[in-house]
Symmetry: C2
Subunit: 391 residues, 2 copies
């Protein structure tokens, strides 16, 4: 186990009807005038946005609105939000939505007190030190952004999209996150399943590490994975199964609030590899991960099957004693699980039968460096092989 | 799963040498003048206290000292500490020790801004709303007080000791907790083992619940228990095994920072039952729990074997299909595990061959109410049976 600092101060308000406490939570933070950021029409149509606005109004809090945030969020709305905050004397940002909305809200919150362009933080040219406080009403359990200090934004720059994940220790962790499982009943099955793959990937990016002697974080990670695998078929079969939705929603937060990464090196190569797919083909991030993660594991099993075999035995109860064989069986179980909830596990199933691997590899290493990942450092020849294993 | 609010804002600084950051952490909180609370001689003899004082001095922080806090901490030193804080203009309390020291520091922190007697909070006559900030340098992984909002103090009142656990959501959670596994190398084997039983009990008090559909918290709880059971023999065999000590130390924090209790009713009957043993016979709390928890489980298996069977299967890999038989086998495994690390599992082994059960039962229900616990509510006849099952 390595030395670490861990602080997850987000206040979680979890359960049925909790969105009606958003006004009280915002008032407790001293907010007087907030920017409400949201996505497409579902938060409007479902009446959620009205309930949020009513709760804010009831707590004496004024608000401006920035809607229309799309999946794989881009820089344009961030710049617009920053301008709105500055012009309107906004003192807090409230995200009503999933990862794209929350990540946009975080980027806005970070940009407001900064004199330069917000992209400087994502480009590594500036260090995040101050941001407006962010509150969340979560509608999609997937990205884990409600409990993380991270934000992923794509820069639309001429013909070239650059998707970057900004990671901060504390600055961007939401002050509060309201999690009502009922709000996830209406998620389409594909989006529900993609969210499940995303949260599993958040755990696995931390689980596959070269750090030894991390039994406690291994066991916690395996436990969350097992819970997700057990609850996932229930939400797929019955979208309004409150208890299964609740288990999945809380799992998604625990998967990415950092607890699974304490004391060890993390990997994140699969996320980087997937980001090039969703940046180029605009596929759902979690579906892309369902394609890439088994390919990444297949590649890794050639060199370091041990931890993948442990995953197979502890998460999928594989009985095989030989590590290489156990790893292969575990990867097959993971693919079968993804398939069982309607996710693709190949590029063809993802709807990209002929991916431009050369371009993705080139952009990947241009954006993320010559070498990526930690479980085994990956160069262009390796990432090319991983994309090919996903064909 | 039930609705819940969860917030664990403590900043954990974990690893070798981290005690030297106590000055920087205290300065970051704006402390200028602190009370350093510690226990017996080991923190002095080991040089830890000097390192803490050097770190504080180096950060420009003045300090007063209150040493000599004994296990099963009592009200006297709390009152003394409150007076010292008030007289000295103290702005923060730093605990250097284990649960007894931390709980004393918390009680002092709570008493300082309160006009009445600090015991009012423990007696339920006042609601904790403000306290001086508390920082921790942990030396004994057991009580989990470094990450909890709780404090257990015994009131020495005439001939009658009253041991009460005060639980708060946030007010008493430490601002920071410094966890260096090296500081636990010198713990005597019995204290190490007792700490292991204590942290396991903290998980099991939350795990054995009547709340249904809590797969995610069940799996996390089982994972931490499995990690403890795997690492415990290593620390017993080699007290300076850094990696095993690190796994045990972090497990002890996760066991009691509340994450295992999210979304469900908790029990805590075994702790209440044990508190009467340690109040009357001054035994080590964790050792008392090793005696009481299997007895409590044996009692419960008569009525509700299902969850105990799940515990047996998932934590001890019991293969038995019948719930009652699996529960019995799981309880036997738990007793064997406690025995294997040198812990008692009967009153006789605890050194109390002829316990005064009538007195303990009377005091238990006088102090905690006619009915205690949640998995199955317990009256005097039930708690009598549990004490008897531990003979």
């Amino acid at each position: 186990m390595e030395n670490f600092v861990y602080c997850s101060p987000t206040k979680y308000i979890f359960g049925a009807g909790t969105e009606n406490s958003v006004g009280a939570e915002a008032a407790a933070l001293g907010f007087k005038n907030v920017l409400v950021v949201y996505g497409g029409g579902s938060a409007v149509r479902s009446g959620l946005l009205d309930r949020v606005k009513d709760s804010l109004t009831g707590a004496g809090i004024r608000f401006a609105e920035l809607g229309g945030i799309a999946p794989n969020p881009v820089d344009g709305p961030v710049r617009k939000g920053i301008e709105m905050c500055r012009a309107g004397g906004i003192d807090g940002v409230i995200a009503v939505g999933g990862g794209s909305v929350i990540d946009t809200a975080k980027a806005i919150a970070l940009g407001v007190p900064y004199s330069g362009d917000f992209w400087d933080f994502y480009a590594g040219k500036a260090k995040p030190e101050a941001a407006l406080p962010v509150g969340v009403v979560l509608t999609i359990p997937a990205a884990g952004s409600e409990g993380s200090g991270n934000s992923v934004i794509t820069l639309e720059s001429g013909t070239k999209n650059i998707k970057i994940s900004l990671r901060t220790d504390y600055v961007l962790r939401p002050k509060f996150a309201i999690l009502n499982p009922e709000l996830t009943y209406t998620l389409p099955p594909y989006q529900t399943a993609s969210g499940i793959a995303d949260m599993m990937a958040h755990i696995m990016e931390r689980y596959f590490t070269t750090t030894q002697d991390v039994e406690i974080t291994d066991r916690v990670s395996e436990g969350i994975l097992k819970a997700i695998i057990e609850e996932a078929p229930k939400v797929m079969a019955k979208p309004d199964d409150y208890q299964a939705r609740a288990n999945i929603m809380w799992s998604g937060t625990l998967a990415h609030n950092g607890i699974c990464g304490t004391g060890r090196k993390e990997d994140w190569a699969s996320h980087a590899i997937e980001h090039e797919i969703s940046a180029l083909y605009n596929v759902t991030h979690g579906a892309g991960l369902a394609v890439i993660f088994p390919a990444w594991m297949t590649f890794m099993a050639q060199y370091s099957p041990g931890k993948i075999a442990q995953f197979a035995r502890r998460v999928f109860d594989v009985a095989e004693h030989d590590d290489t064989a156990a790893a292969a069986e575990g990867i097959a179980c993971l693919k079968a699980f993804f398939g069982s909830i309607g996710l693709p596990v190949t590029f063809a199933e993802l709807g990209v039968p002929d991916p431009d691997i050369d371009t993705m590899v080139r952009r990947l290493h241009e954006n993320k460096g010559e070498v990526i990942g930690g479980y085994r450092p990956l160069r262009a020849a390796d990432t090319t092989e991983i994309y090919q294993l996903a064909l």
